[in-house]
Symmetry: C2
Subunit: 463 residues, 2 copies
């Protein structure tokens, strides 16, 4: 550690009185990156574990006046490198800001600090008969602040939308340390620009979200029915997705996992998953009574019509839970096979079959293993490109495959990131997707919020 | 008309070849303001009736290079003066851009030009089994572009959200005439900042929306049941709203009209509405089958429990349609009584009864007639302050009442505009609601998009 840094850390400790400030090399390494494999990162100068809005503001003020950068993070579960430390940065972790400030059942809103885990809020509001829908696969371990900073999606999106749809208002620490409130608490409101919506998904580059006012739905009034189809080809499963969508059916979940994922999960957890199939489609509908039955039937019919090997309807709730658990475990299970380069493309639903076929062709062509999980009902695919540890040639081929998938997605009218964010991994893709003038608008907006470039430099949009 | 203007109009005509350019005094007067009573306006220099994106771009380029302003408008149904012409402005009407470019049932999206009427899109997508929910009271006559520029709400919001929730992507003409595409066509997408969400509700101050990519829902799968309660006091009706919300019920509509509105509609249209009651609550639920019956029962029980005079459940569809028609006609019916100063406050649902009581107290105190219509289920109230034509003293009292209502709404934790927008009428209210630093952020964002101040100056946020 250069001598100068020692005094910087001491000054930082004095500035953020009361907050733990980590500077041990092992801590710096631990907080140097999020869960994105292969994105660039640098060791931060220090890690601040803020416990209050004041400490967040003090950290930002310190960085702004010291010519340093602030990289905010929640639980570090991001998959695009959005929370990776950069040169001359302080990592500001909000994981200790875990207070649920308020739950108002009449208004159906909750106010929570940024470090509250998604599942903790979910549990707390359920006790009041309320439901917070956004459910990224990381919901047990990711924070509400991180979810909002990346506009996290999840399984429920196909029917219930993404994080932005549930953010009414935000408390934000700006790039000079001033604290502002954006948005509202009321059901509706159009006073001024929707800076709260702009902040959602901006990956900590415009401000640091420290508190959220979230819209909730009633917990009751839904009955879950599962329909599971197995397929002998990925593309056939994709066709079922397109047919379900074209029939005007909106399931409450429509997920896909392929053979590589199924086998990886089963080898790890022994869930007794079906073998010898190339893909499973896991659908749920949540209408009640006869309407739910009818919709589940329609989903089953569309799967059969598209060419499913088997379609199980009204499988027992335990069975359905097991299969959806497999979906949730697929990502960590695949990670056990080697470093994973995670894609996050989103294509029009009708193009899901073709995109899946192209992904397989890319795997063959570049001689890499690609596992597939997908929020298929949204056209949001997560090809997981796996390279064996230490195999540099495979790693190089994986990167080529990654770029090819992005290109194919764009050709099919898709977007390069459906829910993970641009971070660092999708800068090139974003550069292809956004016109030069739109990139210029991004730069101007960034300048409007953070003229000195204090916050999370180089992320979220290409420069 | 000053001599200089003649040559400006000639130059403008040459610049926007093919578009009608109006400059007759009667045309200028007709396009000088929207439907907001009492907001300031000036005669524009000219009115361009654009028929293409190119003509919009040419108009903006002309204004930018001539030191003029552009005030874009759709049908001019706005209620806050957002489309009122200002000094040295060209009014740019998009009413002739009425092409529905694409309807994609598989993706459940529509692409339409900004001048398409809300109802025309609704009808067109219904033919494909699809539904475009946003339903401002003006849906028969207002345009999609205007709806998006103001983030229009409506009756469906309480369950189905506002215009922003249905805008996936936009084509926008920027302040120098360049055309950009923002947002996406896919179900999800987080590539860069959500500039599309920022554009929605920005009242033509950041760019001019010329084409919209809109999310649709399936048309079917809903069954409407109406519940109508009558009340002997506004506050009691408000209590029923708060109780319905506190019970975790999400109706598909929950509207209020008071005695003044009921009598004004009946005097105009003779619909045979109930007399001798102070307020009606019009509720709808749209769950199917037994679930719909159960929810309608709960709504009826809450109304009765709150103290309704009468509660009609399962009134015939014709009856329900008639009452909801009365809700839609209330605003024009009240306008027949004299110039109307339209409020648009939104308070937490639990505060609806108190807010209604305060509005009545304000009416007494300032000796003005205030009629009330409300998207009550959202806490979004529209007190309509009526002053007899030509009575300047009454007009002055009405303005005082307007300010008092805004103040009361803020005291109860509300926002000064729920769905009409800041325009000109709510600049003072917005100034009270937004902190100085948030206003400064607005200025910086405006500067990022429109550094020369070409677009709709002085609207949307206080300066």
């Amino acid at each position: 550690m250069p001598f100068g840094s020692v005094s910087v850390v001491a000054d930082l400790r004095a500035a953020v009185e009361g907050a733990d400030v980590l500077a041990d090399p092992s801590d710096l390494a631990r907080y140097a990156h999020d869960d994105a494999e292969w994105a660039d990162f640098a060791d931060p100068i220090a890690v601040v574990l803020a416990e209050s809005i004041d400490q967040v503001a003090a950290t930002v003020r310190f960085a702004a006046t010291s010519g340093l950068h602030v990289v905010a993070r929640g639980a570090g579960t991001g998959l695009s490198g959005g929370a990776n430390a950069t040169a001359r940065s302080i990592v500001l972790s909000l994981e200790r800001m875990t207070r649920i400030v308020e739950i108002d059942p009449g208004e159906r809103i909750a106010v929570a600090e940024a470090g509250v885990l998604n599942d903790d809020l979910r549990r707390a509001v359920a006790a009041h008969g309320l439901w917070y829908p956004p459910d990224p696969a990381s919901h047990r371990i990711s924070t509400l602040g991180g979810n909002a900073a990346t506009n996290a999606g999840g399984i429920c999106c196909v029917k219930y939308g993404v994080t932005r749809d549930y953010v009414l208002g935000l408390t934000v620490v700006l790039a000079d340390g001033e604290v502002v409130r954006l948005g509202r608490r009321t059901a509706k409101g159009v006073t001024g620009y929707d800076l709260s919506a702009l902040m959602v998904g901006s990956e900590g580059t415009l401000g640091i979200i420290v508190e959220l006012t979230l819209k909730l739905l009633p917990l009751g009034g839904r009955e879950e029915r599962a329909v599971v189809g197995s397929f002998d080809a990925l593309e056939t499963a994709g066709r079922a997705v397109a047919e379900i969508s074209a029939a005007g059916i909106v399931p409450s979940a429509l997920e896909l996992i392929d053979r590589t994922c199924i086998e990886a999960v089963d080898a790890w957890k022994g869930l007794g998953l079906p073998h010898g199939v190339e893909a499973l489609l896991l659908a749920r509908v949540d209408e009640v009574g006869a309407a739910g039955d009818a919709l589940a039937s329609q989903v089953a019919e569309r799967m059969a019509h598209a060419g499913a090997l088997t379609v199980e309807r009204g499988a027992s709730p335990a069975d359905a839970d097991r299969l959806f658990l497999a979906r949730r475990l697929a990502y960590p299970a695949v990670q056990r096979l080697g470093p994973v380069l995670t894609e996050d493309i989103c294509v029009p639903r009708a193009r899901v079959p073709e995109m899946l076929a192209r992904i397989q062709a890319t795997a063959s062509e570049h001689d890499v293993v690609i596992a597939n999980i997908a929020h298929a009902g949204d056209g949001n695919l997560h090809p997981l490109i796996i390279a064996p540890e230490g195999d540099d040639a495979a790693k190089a081929r994986a990167k080529l495959a990654f770029d090819r998938i992005v290109e194919d997605c764009r050709e099919l009218g898709g977007t390069v990131t459906g829910e993970h964010g641009v971070g660092l991994l999708k800068l090139a893709g974003a550069s292809a997707e956004l016109s030069p003038r739109v990139v210029e608008l991004h730069r101007a907006v960034k300048h409007a919020f953070d003229p000195a470039g204090v916050l999370n430099p180089g992320k979220a949009f290409p420069t």
